[in-house]
């Protein structure tokens, strides 16, 4: 009794503290605000949502049953189905879901001010993303760890299954292209960043050889060796930067870098996994965990001030980084960190095959996503502690603010965010870069933000080191996602091609490997190429497309979950997934509508294509712009078709889900629930 009273008071205290922090963040106007309030608000929101909402869902809606044997127990084969300690599963799950997305999206969305992004990250996560991950994990666990596509087919019908498969393949292609663009923009004309990122490739191969040949399977030894070499590479990059004759080898404009990334992606996809992909993944996982922990400690220790206003004038759609109003574009720009459909693929992939008990679903599904959302909050802090003028100078593409530094600072200052050329030059010099203007993509501004937080916590003398460490850290797991994504795309494509001609489906047949890898790399390479030659930065086009496709995948996962809830006679609880689903349908449909019909050339794909076509015909374009214009026009039209295709897929599966639900409620036959019957667990401690 006494304990429960203490608990009640403790939770009331958490609620009061959380509301105070949130209220402070939301109502603050005009003054800078301590970043600690963001951390406090976030932790309180996650704690309350986890303790009450997640618990309520697991005990009252999903009816988690700790006595039920999980697939890992029933099908234990020591390989893919293995009952595993919940902290270990949590670690694997978190490492799998948390990529570069939650770092890039919030940084871009900071153009609206700190408030919209922060609120969407917090509430989107606890009401949408966490629920999606947890519910998908639960349903997949009850179905022997079946994938989202298989569940869609079993529970709704063939249409759902195909829609899930095709959307996954497309989102993978867009995702890789946009991440490739982020890396290219970070390496552009930066010998330090380029040489460091280039060094990660031989380092990973060395680690791969170590783990395979010298000391087989000694993962920790190999990783330690690799991490030391990576840190040396960051320092070595600084040395190369100052070596005339050597620095030119790594000083390239965007386009050659894009070709290198494309060539690298193809090589990585056809090399054996042990040589490059697997060892680099070990390194990027440690770097990721280490940096996130370090960033959190530095923020708590330094308590930096957030200088960005709560809201900027760009909520009206005139933002320099990407065009479009607050609604719906903040919800599209921040997908990872709030709700990300890709997670449903992980929650219905490896994770359910490792769970030793259904009880762990709340912690792994809901808790894992809450932690990723927290990473997104830290990214928004790192972006908004910069002077807003500096933030916009780094992130605004040359096509919007002008190629010359003087033009850019004049334009940005005229928006009410004062910044000077001297200030930018000094900053670039401190960070060891030639220039920081027009580094669209999020990675450089995040790196500057992280470097200034780390610099103030651990000493200013190392700013350039911290900056390039942050660039290397982002690049290394972007490249991991790029390798892994190309590989998965290849398998999916081979699976489809195998239906046309059997040998193409054999994943070990080398001609088929080359062909399918080539197709996937060409697909994302095309979007990367266009993004690099686009004077408006490419991120403006690609990131919204990625956001839309990722959210549509989330909507598909929520459709499957809602359908299962209704078919399990839980109509009155179906809102837990239907609510975020309806929100995503509204957000993605209106975003696609605007992307297609808007007459603003910075928003509408077709408007931009027509505008450019008119300019090209009337001969007002400079020769260099006229040369690339036909590519850009074609790409804008292709993007319009793609987004229309995505939204049709979504509506198709929504109607399919509604059809199944209505039929069920009217007592007509529907595909039966594919849940595996209950078996008592035997892994019991008394």
């Amino acid at each position: 009794m006494k304990n429960s009273l203490v608990a009640i008071f403790a939770w009331i205290a958490v609620a009061v503290l959380g509301s105070a922090a949130l209220g402070g963040i939301a109502l603050n106007r005009g003054e800078s605000i301590n970043a600690l309030w963001f951390i406090t608000a976030a932790l309180c929101v996650y704690a309350i949502a986890y303790r009450f909402y997640a618990t309520w869902i697991t005990t009252k809606v999903l009816l988690i049953d700790p006595t039920r044997a999980t697939p890992a127990e029933r099908l234990d084969n020591g390989r893919d189905y293995v009952p595993t300690n919940r902290w270990i599963v949590f670690g694997h799950h978190f490492a799998a879901i948390a990529g570069p997305g939650p770092l890039v999206g919030p940084t871009l969305a900071a153009q609206f001010g700190y408030l919209p992004g922060t609120l969407w990250i917090l509430f989107g996560a606890v009401l949408g993303g966490c629920v999606q991950d947890m519910v998908t994990l639960f349903y997949s666990t009850r179905r022997n760890g079946r994938s989202l596509g298989q569940m869609a087919r079993d529970e709704l019908g063939a249409i759902g299954g195909i829609a899930a498969l095709i959307t996954t393949l497309f989102i993978m292609i867009i995702l890789i292209a946009v991440l490739g663009l982020v890396v290219v923009n970070a390496m552009k004309h930066s010998p330090w960043a380029t040489s460091t990122v280039a060094a990660t490739i031989p380092i990973a191969m060395l680690v791969g050889l170590y783990m395979r040949t010298i000391r087989p399977g000694r993962v920790l030894e190999g990783s330690l060796l690799g991490v030391i070499l990576l840190l040396l590479a960051v320092a070595g990059g600084g040395w190369i930067e100052h070596q005339p004759g050597l620095r030119e080898l790594f000083d390239h404009p965007g386009l050659p870098l894009a070709w290198m990334v494309i060539a690298y992606g193809f090589a990585a996809a056809i090399l054996p996994v042990w040589l490059l992909l697997a060892p680099r993944d070990y390194l990027s996982t440690y770097m990721k965990l280490g940096t996130v922990i370090l960033l959190m400690l530095a923020i708590v220790w330094m308590q930096p001030s957030v200088k960005m206003p709560a809201l900027t004038q760009f909520v009206d759609g005139t933002g320099p980084i990407f065009g479009g109003k607050l609604f719906p574009f903040v919800f599209i720009t921040i997908a990872c960190g709030a709700i990300s459909g890709f997670h449903a693929l992980i929650s219905s992939g490896t994770t359910p095959k490792l769970l030793s008990n259904e009880r762990d679903i709340r912690m792994i599904g809901f808790g894992g996503m809450a932690l990723e959302s927290f990473v997104a909050i830290m990214a928004i802090i790192a972006a908004t502690v910069l002077d807003p003028g500096v933030f916009f100078a780094i992130n605004s593409p040359a096509g919007v603010v002008g190629k010359e530094a003087a033009d850019a600072v004049a334009k940005i200052s005229s928006w009410g965010f004062p910044v000077t050329v001297e200030q930018m030059n000094l900053l670039a010099q401190q960070m060891g870069e030639a220039t920081l203007f027009a580094r669209t993509g999020g990675a450089p501004s995040l790196a500057v933000g992280m470097a200034s937080i780390f610099g103030s916590a651990f000493g200013q003398g190392m700013l350039a080191m911290w900056y390039h460490f942050a660039i290397m850290f982002e690049a290394i797991f972007i490249l991991t996602t790029l390798d892994a994504g190309t590989r998965v795309g290849r398998f999916m494509l081979q699976d489809m091609l195998g239906n046309i001609w059997k040998p193409l489906g054999r994943t070990s047949w080398y001609p088929s490997v080359l062909l399918s890898s080539g197709i996937i790399v060409a697909a994302w390479g095309y979007f990367l190429y266009i993004g690099v030659i686009d004077p408006n930065g490419g991120v403006n086009i690609l990131w919204p497309l990625f956001g839309i496709s990722n959210q549509i995948l989330a909507a598909i996962a929520l459709c499957v979950a809602t359908g299962i809830l209704v078919k399990s006679d839980k109509l009155k609880y179906a809102w837990i997934t239907a609510l975020p689903l309806v929100w995503l349908i509204i957000v993605t449909s209106s975003a696609v509508w605007e992307k297609i019909t808007s007459t603003d050339v910075r928003i509408g794909f077709l408007a931009a294509a027509n505008d450019l076509a008119t300019k090209l015909a009337s001969g007002v374009l400079s020769p260099e712009n006229a040369a690339i214009a036909p590519h850009l026009i074609f790409n804008q039209r292709l993007d319009a078709v793609l987004s229309l295709f995505f939204i049709c897929m979504l509506w198709l599966i929504v109607f399919d889900m509604l059809r199944v639900c209505v039929r069920y409620l009217n007592g007509k036959p529907v595909p039966p629930l594919s849940e595996v019957p209950h078996q008592l667990t035997s892994m019991v401690k008394v």
Binding site: L63, A69, C336, S340, T481, F491, V684, V686
Partner: protein
Amino acid sequence: MSKKLTKKNANDSLTAISDSGLPVFETTLDIDQRIAQSATLNINATCVEHLPLWSYIWRVIRELSGDDAYERYIAQHATSDPDTPPLARKDFFLYQQQQKWSGIQRCC
């Protein structure tokens, strides 16, 4: 202490034995009753208790990173498939990496 739930001590709540020999729980029980029953059972798979903290942490790090994967494989192999020789360390490592990277493992 960890022990397998036997047919005998689980008998109160049993109605049938499934094909795989695992006991089947009485499904007519209310979920709250089932959770209440299971509240006394603390279920855990690989967790090891009564170790000093540092060696527990070391264990977790090794398992999380996959450093001890081969040892775990050998232990599992000895109980599940003692008649066939287990894979060599290097072959197991290669097999495991191939297996891991054939599906969606990394996200955005």
